[in-house]
Structure formats: C-alpha cells, structure tokens
C-alpha cells in the first residue's frame, strides 16, 4: 500500500458541520466507497474512537484517515482530517483546518445553516481554504435545499450553485463529493527538495504505542529512522515509526510533501508535544517554524477534589493520564479547608469540562467532587501589574486592586423569527449588549450579542434550546477582557466563610444570586443538631440570609423481628453517605452542594 503520491495527486480536506448534521456518517461513507473498510466489518462511525464519543454522538478528538480513490482513471490520495463538532471546540477545529487546503461544509438539508455552520465556515474562509457546501440528508421529506441556498448566499456569500447534494445515510451523491474534493480543492503546495517541514496538527496517547503525533507534511521528506527536531519545544526525537491511517495505522518507510500521517517516537508525555509546532530535521538545514498555531486558552475553570482525601495522588495520575490525550486540560494543585487537596483545572469550555469529569470517573474509577465552574478574570493591581485569577478565592482584598476585567464574547445566535423576543430577553437578563440582527431567510434570524462569558457558561445553552423549542443554535468567538463592576460574593455557612462556594458576580445581581445560592444550600445541606445560618456577603455587607433548622425527629418508627440485620445495614449505609460529605467548619456538606452557585432558579 505504501506507494508514493506526488502532491498533485493528494488532497487534504476536512468536513465541517454543525453538530448532528451527519459528519461522522459521511466520513463512514467515504471509508466504504474508497474501500478503506470492509462494509460488513465496519462499526458505525469509525472515526469516533472513544466510547464516550460514540455514546454522546460527538467527536472529541480529531482523527485523520488516508483514503485512496480513483477518479477518471487516476488514483488520488485523499487525507480526511476529521474535526470535532461542538461549540467548545472552535480551537480544535482550527488546528485541524490548518492541515487542510479545503473543507466540505456539511449542512443538514432540513435544518439549514446553524450557528456552528457559520462559525466553522468563517474559520475555514479566514484561512483561505476552498469551501465546498454539501447538503446532507436529502432523502428527508422535509429537506428544503432551495431555502438553504438562499441562506448560503445571504450569510456566507457562497454561490448557491456551488452546493452539492447527498444522503450520507443512503449513500447517494457520495462519489460526486469525492470528485469535487479532487476537482475543486487545491493540491498541497510544497517542495520535496526543501528541508523537512511538517505541521503537528494533533497528538494522542495510545496505551500500547505511547504518544502518536499527527502530522501534515509541508516540505521535504520524512524517512523512518530520521532524527527530527521540534522547533517550538526545542526537542529531538527519532522517528521510530511513521505511517498513515488507512484507517488503521499502517507503517510506511517515508512520508513526503502533502501527505498526512503519524509519527511514533519515544516521547514521554503529551505535554512534550505542542500541537501547532513544526517538525524539521535534527541535523543539517532546518526549516523555519510555521505560523499560526497558538496555545488553547482554558476559559472555564473549576476545582476537582477526590472524595477520599487519600486519593489525591491517584487523582493526579488520572489527570495526567487524561492530559496524555487531551493536551487542552490544565491543572494545578490547590487546597481548600472543606475539600482538602485537589486541583484547579482549566477547560476549553463547559462541555469539555463535563467530558473530562466523566472520563475521570469512568476511566480512573475515582469519586470526585467538583466545585462550580468559573471563568478567568483579569485583576488590575494597584502596583500596575495584572493578575489573572482562576477561582474567586484568588481575588485579593479590594484595597489592592483597581479594576476587574471579565471575558466578553461575541455570540452568534440563530433562532426562528418567532422566538426572537424570548432570546432577546434572555440575553438582556444575562447582561448582554445587542449588536445586530440579520435575516437569514424569511423564518430565521441571526442575532449577535456581546455577552459576559460567565453568564453563558452555566445554562445559557439550555435556556436557548428551551426558548426556541430546540431550534436555536449558538456559537461564540474568542473572548476579550472588559472591565465590569464585579464583586466577590462570599458565602458563610454557620459564620464560616466557604471559599469553595464563593462566586464573582456583577454588583447589580449579587443579592439575587446570593439568595439563589443560599436557597440551594438550604436544600442540599442536611439538618444538623444545631441551626445553621447561611449568609451571602459582599465585603462586610450581608446581602442575603437563610437558615437551616436544627434536626428534628430522626428515629426509625418500627424495628423488631427480622428487621435487625437490615436495619443495621441501613444505618451503615447512612454512615457511608456521611463519610462522603465534606466539612465547612462543623457543618457537613454533601458534595453536590458545592455546585450550588450554579443554581439559576432565581
């Protein structure tokens, strides 16, 4: 299989789409049509390799597959670089796109253009890629290609006639798409005579093979056994194995201009590989670094603690293991009075956080407690320096700083015209600033708002969905930091301040927010022998208060005969539940109470 393709016979492309528009199904079809997988053996959605991905129907990590396909008697190498498809992952989409010359913009022919369709298409066009629109699900009775062509023209300024039609489900139109990939997308440029230059567009940890580096060849040739130099990381490795995914990894003797493949070396940990870094040759003339890649900035942070304090080191190992195949996770040890030793962890977004948390519990079997997520804040200190904080507890005393800046994102929201009012109100309530409104078609509109990121990381997406009967979609761009009148809302449980529960919020909403947190705590914290006052304060001023009444009757009504063993076991179970609780002063707090600040039944 390891025959060589000259650059003009190579196409590097990806599929970009809104979630559930059928990207993975289309990729599966490509694998089938090109004979990369035996139809009878294929598992659905080959490219989503993790269980969790398949379960949630989303692609977490990009994958790359080399396909060979004959068009008009000529054999082509088609490298399909998969991109993830959720709102959190614009950064990962961007990484993958940089390894491609073209993109298939897949659009559900019934649903039409959605917020991520726009965002991904913009991303691709900014990189000067050839974008080929493809309407999927044309077999659906309510497919409406003509209207979507209007939307294409109105929103993306793409020609209506440029769109292809297919049904990834039935297989109709698939050959035409592959033809368009060859005919409409440019071949990679690059010179085989120049020094080795390749782009790292992803990296994964494999339990058996170690670190697998995904690379896209730009110039020169990479041979098995070459010693390579990673420019940004300034490290050297031997190319112990190189190859292509077809879709299983197949070792090759060399990779050359335009090809996409993998590299295995004795790289210890994923952190040693920087996605976006440039690979060149160790000895001889080295290539200059490629431009464009930047580090992912974690925009959602939370504390993660082991339920059993003895599991701290296990948690560290588990996080390290996750970081092996998800370099976007950031974590640093932190400690808290109530929760003991744990880690402050940074994630790309809320979905990323949920996935990591689930994987942590699933893959390591650890019980963890999570604190409420927060965004990073920039604090302008009196001495002129800027402090970036990732938890409310890190906010210095108000006398030491002059300003707090919070991340603001420009959000594009596409909704049916009849729900504009609801969504306008939602955004206004969340401190949004309205920017503009554009009609995509007679029934759909795109609203653009500037919103504080802190206001959308909790349940904004759910509210958007429920306010639009499920039709609303959103996407947001990289944040900027703007000053705002923010305060630290302190929470006191039985007069003891619980930093784990404190939250940074806007001064205008601190009272409402405080009350909501306290009411939630009131529900979550079981009664104690004594009454527990709950207070929310800004500085020294109490803005809300509630009480948890002292324990009343707690005795099993009936106990005799055969109940004894069972009754003892019930008490032991209750005790187990108590052991899992954490303490704030002398108050025992169940783990989920630490998420009380997420409460929005305000």
């Amino acid at each position: 299989m390891s025959r060589r393709f000259p650059p003009e016979r190579i196409r590097n492309f990806s599929i970009i789409a809104h979630i559930d528009h059928g990207k993975s199904t289309l990729a599966d079809r490509f694998l089938e049509v090109t004979g990369a997988v035996d139809t009878r053996k294929k598992q659905d959605q080959m490219l989503d390799s993790m269980d969790l991905e398949r379960e949630r129907g989303i692609t977490i990590k990009a994958a790359a597959v080399s396909l060979t396909h004959t068009i008009r008697g000529e054999e082509y190498l088609l490298n399909l670089i998969d991109t993830p498809g959720h709102v959190d992952f614009a950064y990962e989409v961007e990484k993958s796109l940089q390894a491609c010359e073209g993109a298939l913009l897949l659009i559900d022919a019934a649903q039409g253009i959605q917020a991520q369709t726009v965002a991904n298409a913009m991303l691709a066009m900014e990189q000067d890629m050839e974008v080929v629109p493809v309407f999927n699900k044309m077999d659906l009775p309510h497919a409406r290609p003509e209207e979507i062509k209007d939307e294409l023209e109105n929103t993306l300024l793409l020609e209506r006639d440029s769109a292809l039609a297919c049904s990834a489900k039935t297989g109709e139109g698939i050959d035409g798409i592959l033809e368009a990939v060859v005919d409409r997308m440019p071949a990679p440029e690059g010179s085989p005579d120049k020094p080795l230059r390749a782009l790292i567009f992803d990296a994964k940890y494999d339990e058996y093979r170690g670190i697998i580096v995904y690379l896209r060849m730009i110039d020169g040739t990479l041979k098995k056994g070459d010693w390579v130099h990673m420019v940004g990381a300034d490290t050297d490795y031997e190319a112990i194995e190189i190859g292509k995914f077809m879709p299983k990894p197949v070792p090759h003797e060399e990779l050359s201009v335009g090809e996409a493949g993998y590299l295995i070396s004795n790289i210890k940990q994923l952190e040693d590989v920087r996605v976006g870094d440039t690979i060149t040759i160790m000895r001889g003339e080295r290539a200059a670094a490629l431009e464009g890649y930047r580090e992912a900035q974690p925009m959602v942070w939370c504390g993660i603690y082991p339920t059993n304090s003895g599991d701290f080191e296990n948690l560290r190992s588990a996080l390290k293991a996750l970081k092996l195949n998800d370099s976007a996770i950031v974590f640093d040890p932190e400690s808290s009075d109530a929760l003991g030793f744990g880690f402050r962890c940074g994630f790309l977004g809320l979905l990323h956080m949920e996935i990591v948390q689930e994987r942590l519990e699933r893959e390591s079997g650890l019980d963890i407690v999570q604190t409420a997520p927060t965004v990073p804040y920039e604090v302008q200190m009196n001495d002129g320096s800027t402090l970036v904080i990732h938890s409310p507890g890190e906010l210095p005393d108000p006398t030491q700083w002059s300003e707090i800046r919070e991340p603001i994102v420009t959000v594009h929201i596409i909704v049916p015209t009849d729900s504009i009012g609801v969504i306008m109100k939602l955004c206004t309530d969340r401190r949004g600033i309205f920017l503009r409104q554009e009609h995509l078609s007679a029934t759909r509109v795109m609203l653009t708002w500037d919103m504080p990121l802190s206001e959308i990381i909790y349940d904004f997406y759910d509210k958007l969905k429920s306010g639009t009967k499920g039709y609303g979609t959103m996407n947001f761009e990289e944040p900027r930091f703007d000053a705002a009148n923010l305060v630290k809302l302190r929470i006191l449980v039985n007069s003891k301040e619980a930093d784990e529960l404190s939250v940074i919020c806007h001064n205008d909403s601190c009272q409402r927010r405080g009350r909501a947190v306290l009411q939630k705590l009131q529900k979550e914290i079981p009664r104690h022998q004594f009454q527990i006052p709950l207070q929310a304060a800004v500085g020294g001023k109490i803005v809300a208060r509630e009480n948890i009444r002292a324990l009343s009757k707690n005795v099993t009504a009936k106990c005799y005969g055969g109940d004894i063993t069972r009754k003892r076991k019930l008490l032991e179970k209750q005790k187990e539940g108590k052991k899992r609780m954490k303490s704030i002063g002398n108050v025992e707090v169940p783990q989920k109470a630490f998420l009380a600040v997420l409460s929005t039944d305000e």
Binding site: Q529, K553, A557, I564, K567, R568, K578
Partner: protein, 367 residues
Amino acid sequence: MSKCRYCDFNSYAWTGQELDRYVRALLREAELRAEALHPQTVFIGGGTPTFLPADLLAELLVELSRITGFRSTAHEVTIEANPESFDEPRAQAAAQGGVNRVSLGVQSLRPEVLRAYDRVHSGERALEALARARELFTRFSADLIFAFPGQDPASWEADLRAVLASKPGHVSCYELSYEPGTALTRLRNAGRWKAEDSDLCEELYLRTGKILAEHVYERYETSNFARPGERCLHNLAAWRNLHYVGVGAGAASWHGGARRKNIERPEAYQAAVESGIDPVGECERPDANTALFDHLMMGLRLVGEGVSRARVRAATGLDPVDHFANQWQAMREDGWVEWDAHYLRTTARGALLLDSVLTRLLPGEPV
C-alpha cells in the same frame, strides 16, 4: 385482599389449597427447629395470620402447641389481625387455641387515609373489631399510623382518642415510613405522594406521647405505649436482644449465636421444608462488636429502660458505655444520652434522634 401500600412484609396472594400446604410446611419446620422449645411468649404475626380460615387457624394452634409445648409455658400468646378478617369464628378459634392477646391493625379510622393506603377495611369495621377483641381477649392492642401526607394534627388526635375509647391496654403509633420496594415509596419517588416534613412528624410524635400519657399509657418504646402491666413481652424480649425462633417463609430468628432469615418465597420455602431441608435463607453470626451494636440499636429504643450494661457484658463481653466512651461523652454533652452504673439510655431528645445516635457509633469519622 390486596397488599397495603406502606407494607414491606413478605406477602403473597394465596388460594385455599395453597394455605393448607403452607401451614403444613410451617408446622413441619416447627418440628425441625422448635420441638419442645417451651417458649415464654408466642407471636403469630408477620402480617395477617387471621386470613387463615378459622378451622385452619385452630389446627395451626393445636399443632404448634403440641410441637413446642407453648400452652404450658407461654404467658403471652399474641395474634396479629386485620379488622376485616377478624371475625367471630376466627376470634373464637384463636381464643380456644390459647391466644390471649390480639394486636389489631387499625392504622386509621379515616376513609380517605385507609383508601390511600389501599386498606380494605373501614373505620367502623376497625371499631367493631376492637370491641370484639375486648370481649374475647383479656389483652389487646391497636396499631395506628400517623404522618399521613396532609394529616391535620387535630384529625390524628381525634382518631387516637376514638381508638382509646375502646380501652386497649396497648397502643402502637408508627410514623408512616417509606420502606424500599413499597408502593408508597414508588409513589413518593415518582412525585405522586408528598411525605410530611420532619417538623410535623416531630409534632405528631410529641402530641401522641402527650395524649397517651394523659390516658396513663407509658411510652416504653419509640412507637409503643402500654398501660401498667400491658407491655408486649414478646417484642420487649426482642428489644432486649433476647433469643427467639421464627418459623414460616421469611421468618427471622436470633438463636444459637446466629441471626437468620428463612427463604422468603413461599414456594421455595415449602419445597425446602417438604424435602426435610432447613429453609434458611440468610444467616449471619454477629461478632462481639456487631452484637454490641445490635444490643444498642434495639435496647436504646426502650425509652425509659435503656440498655442493661450487665446483660450486654454477659452476652458480648463488652461494656456498652466503656466501649464507646468518647462517643457517649460527646453525646451526653449534647444532651442525647445518660447513663449510670447499670443502664444506658437516651434522653427524651435523644430518643427522637436515635438514628443519629446510632450512626455516631459506627466507625468512620472522628467523634
């Protein structure tokens, strides 16, 4: 007849023939495990033995007495009964068979409450049954349930007073509890049944104690009240963690160093017994620490009496106060328990919080 919604007893629907077979199996087990046991008390319960036909009930008692010899040794022979099945022939059969005490499952006199529980009797039938019990037996008790959702304390009080007018020597007042696997628990979990909050339960508990005290009933156990000389000796023995042998499907025993429970499903139970096999389902031999905990778990329910230190030492080799010295000290400071050289007991406050008291004794956290 149907299963009551709060009931987590081992219960099944039967036909007449099956009942006959079951009684034979039960007697066979008694022959295997309780021959010449000569018990001091007998309790025929575990639900509704009075749904046996009168002749079968009579036969059961005669045979049981023949096997165990209870008629010459037992001071107290109790039968549990439901108002709807406690008719004249059965009552007569029980009395003639040596039963001298009846425990009637009145539960409530309110039609709406009884309906909600899926009980088939009515308040009038319950009062009639109480009158019959009074006529035929020297001792009788009424079981009642409080903390029905939305129960107004005044209506509970009226029920209680109406029952007291029948002058039972003993009353059990159980807070409605939500046992795993019952219809009620399923309804509650599905959000279709709202349990009362613990403040109201406490108020009802205290009010119940007060009313009964006015009528000279002593609260001798968490949920049990007796006039002088009317305590249930059989249950008292269980709370003192003394031994007993239970026969029948799902019956529990505490005997010979083992806590055991019979096979629950009648079919499997009968099959075992008919093959001459001991129908044991689960069995554990508590170690000293577990036995000590059981003594406390049961004994502290005896509100005035508490746990006899000497008896526990004799049974387990451990002193209940010294063994948990730190925990008791802390709880005494909280006003939950008190003790002297002979007995350890809860205070009135501690009695209300007994589950918390016991949880604090379990290993796993600093005191």
